[in-house]
């Protein structure tokens, strides 16, 4: 839970920074009150935004964050993990993807889902397994209303592990579908 809290803080800080920079660059004479800026609420999914009372909109036009230039993790997108030799989605993975779907629908951004495997097994089968994992994620996101054209898939198999070592923990970390900037 601590991790999730930190990520939320991180998301808010990033958006605040973008708003401030965007406003200044726009030559806006009035210093915006970023903390109460209503665009924060409209551009973030409801459940990841700290509950704040909405004041009357004083700065209605501020450039939206450039999601396409951001790492999906920085706007709240989470990776999903798979069982050994499996490419079906667990209920936990579906929960993460439901949240991801809401964010992606709102942001309208294109993401790349890369499939990964643990080191066990052959290079070729793992590339195919990674593809199936990424494809399962895409199909689920599309079923939740995300535009199919906004989700690209690729597979790296066992080539780009997130954790090194031949332990159950490392293997579990490496059996994933990872969201990245295309």
């Amino acid at each position: 839970m601590n991790h999730w809290y930190n990520r939320n803080i991180h998301v808010v800080l990033v958006l605040v920074a973008i708003l401030v920079v965007g406003s200044l660059a726009g030559g806006c004479g009035k210093k915006p009150e970023a903390e109460t800026d209503p665009t924060i609420e409209t551009t973030l999914p409801a459940e990841t935004v700290p509950a704040q009372p909405t004041p009357e909109p004083t700065v209605p036009e501020v450039t939206a964050p450039d999601y396409a230039a951001m790492d999906p993790a920085d706007y709240g997108i989470g990776d999903v993990f798979f069982g050994f030799d499996e490419y079906t989605l667990s209920t936990e993975a579906m929960g993460i993807l439901s949240r991801n779907a809401r964010i992606l629908r709102e942001a309208g951004v294109t993401v790349l889902v890369s499939g990964h495997c643990d080191e066990r097994g052959t290079v070729e089968y793992n590339l195919a397994l990674g593809e199936k994992r990424a494809k399962a994620v895409k199909d689920y996101l599309v079923s939740l209303g995300v535009a199919a054209g906004n989700v690209r898939v690729t597979s790296y198999g066992e080539s780009k592990p997130f954790a090194t070592g031949s332990t159950e923990q490392a293997w579990a970390q490496n059996r994933r579908a990872h969201f990245e900037r295309p």
């Binding site: 097994g121 290079v123 070729e124 590339l127 195919a128 494809k135 031949s166």
Partner: protein
């Protein structure tokens, strides 16, 4: 100099070091079937140096060492240095020769000066001439001349073509940067073929050796490419959405079979070398990958996990007559058909590791080549002699390539280094 441009002179050197008149002899002096314990003893003499000073002396040393090592690695001979063994009567054959160095006043110096090499195969101790070959190699071409002569000896005495001029292409690197490399069958001549800072995997030699098809992310997504081995140039073969993976050339060289997933699922397809799809061979929700043609070009062995675990299947080139080949083990993949069609090698999972298996193409006589001391052993590829098999293993902690003499059961290390070497492919 980039790797691409360096490839060009290397290939040309290989061609120049083989005499134009070189052609396979159809005459077989002794007609016998080799079994593992039946090797031909042969003496390998040091070629006489007629002129040329130290460069010629060193050339003679190198020729003797390379020919001796080639005959040993073939698995068919018991070679011995003649100066060590003396004139033993145990030997039926001997190799002799001469080396003449370049004349300095010919205006040629150092690396530019070819030596004149003459190598003979004779009966022993009668010294009846069976084979003579003459070469004019530059110093950098001496190994190739020796390999060529060793191949001639092997073919004449066994009736089987040698593999001394073959090479192994493979993928070397870590993480998302792996390049194609190539190495001679004896572990020498290591050379990098690609340098595009992405993943380059799964090379496959065309039957005539002019093209290496491989899977690469060089354009930001996975595609199948062809590398021209005469000039190092790379062209796109097919780049569809998803996998473009695991190609194998038809023995005619006019088609490839591979796995594509643009339909939404990895399926087996036949394509032409220009990327045109000839035929889709599988339709299912399962993973279908890793196809390999039978040497006659009629059947295909491939992997499917339609039963829930990856297993080997065979069907014909039209996808008809599918039958399951493996029933043992919960994970079988990477099947490759031996050049004479009698055997299939593949990778199987035992516990948390992968091992190499060889069996008859009928599925009988299954034999695991690598035991538990090998950690993982993956991606087998046959040598053209159907006797040797290259594979990747991380037994030292990092993946390197190893060569197994399948008939003898012996294994030698081919590459070393700190970057993993994977997906080897033996040239035809």
């Amino acid at each position: 100099m980039t790797p691409m441009t360096r490839l060009v002179p290397m290939i040309l050197l290989v061609l120049a070091a083989v005499p134009a008149a070189a052609q396979r002899s159809s005459e077989v002096v002794i007609d016998h079937t080799k079994v593992a314990w039946e090797k031909t003893p042969i003496l390998v003499g040091l070629p006489d140096v007629l002129s040329g000073g130290m460069p010629a002396v060193q050339a003679a040393d190198l020729l003797q060492a390379v020919v001796l090592n080639d005959l040993k690695l073939s698995g068919l001979f018991l070679p011995a240095l003649r100066d060590v063994q003396g004139d033993s009567l145990n030997y039926q054959y001997a190799i002799e020769g001469t080396v003449e160095g370049a004349l300095r006043d010919a205006g040629q110096t150092g690396e530019d000066a070819p030596t004149t090499v003459s190598l003979n195969l004779v009966t022993w101790p009668e010294r009846q001439l069976l084979l003579n070959k003459r070469y004019r190699p530059l110093p950098s071409q001496l190994r190739t001349s020796a390999h060529h002569f060793a191949d001639q000896v092997i073919e004449m005495l066994t009736g089987e073509p040698g593999i001394c001029l073959t090479r192994i292409a493979f993928s070397r690197g870590a993480g998302d940067r792996r390049d194609l490399w190539v190495v001679d069958f004896d572990g020498e001549g290591l050379m990098r073929l690609t340098g595009n800072r992405t993943l380059n995997l799964c090379p496959a030699w065309s039957p005539d050796g002019t093209t290496i098809a491989f899977t690469s992310y060089r354009d930001g997504r996975q595609g199948l490419y062809g590398l021209d081995t005469s000039n190092g140039k790379v062209r796109s073969i097919i780049e569809l959405e998803g996998l473009n993976l695991g190609a194998d050339w038809h023995p005619s060289g006019k088609e490839l079979v591979l796995s594509l997933s643009h339909s939404g699922n990895p399926e087996i397809y036949r394509i032409k070398p220009d990327g045109t799809i000839v035929k889709r061979l599988t339709v299912s929700d399962a993973i279908e990958i890793s196809p390999s043609w039978s040497p006659g070009g009629r059947d295909i062995v491939f992997t499917s996990d339609r039963t829930g675990t990856p297993q080997l299947y065979i069907f014909d080139g039209d996808g008809a007559g599918r039958r399951r080949l493996t029933f043992e083990g919960r994970y079988n993949d990477s099947a490759v058909w031996s050049p004479n069609g009698e055997r299939i090698a593949y990778a199987t999972r035992e516990g948390n590791h992968t091992q190499i298996v060889v069996m008859k193409a009928t599925g009988e006589s299954r034999r695991v080549l690598t035991d538990g001391t090998w950690r993982n052993a993956e991606d087998p590829s046959w040598a053209p002699d159907g006797r040797h098999l290259v594979f990747a293993s991380d037994r030292t902690g990092v993946f390197n390539l190893y060569v197994c003499d399948v008939d003898e059961g012996t294994i030698r290390r081919l590459t070393s280094g700190n970057d993993p070497d994977i997906t080897p492919a033996w040239s035809r």
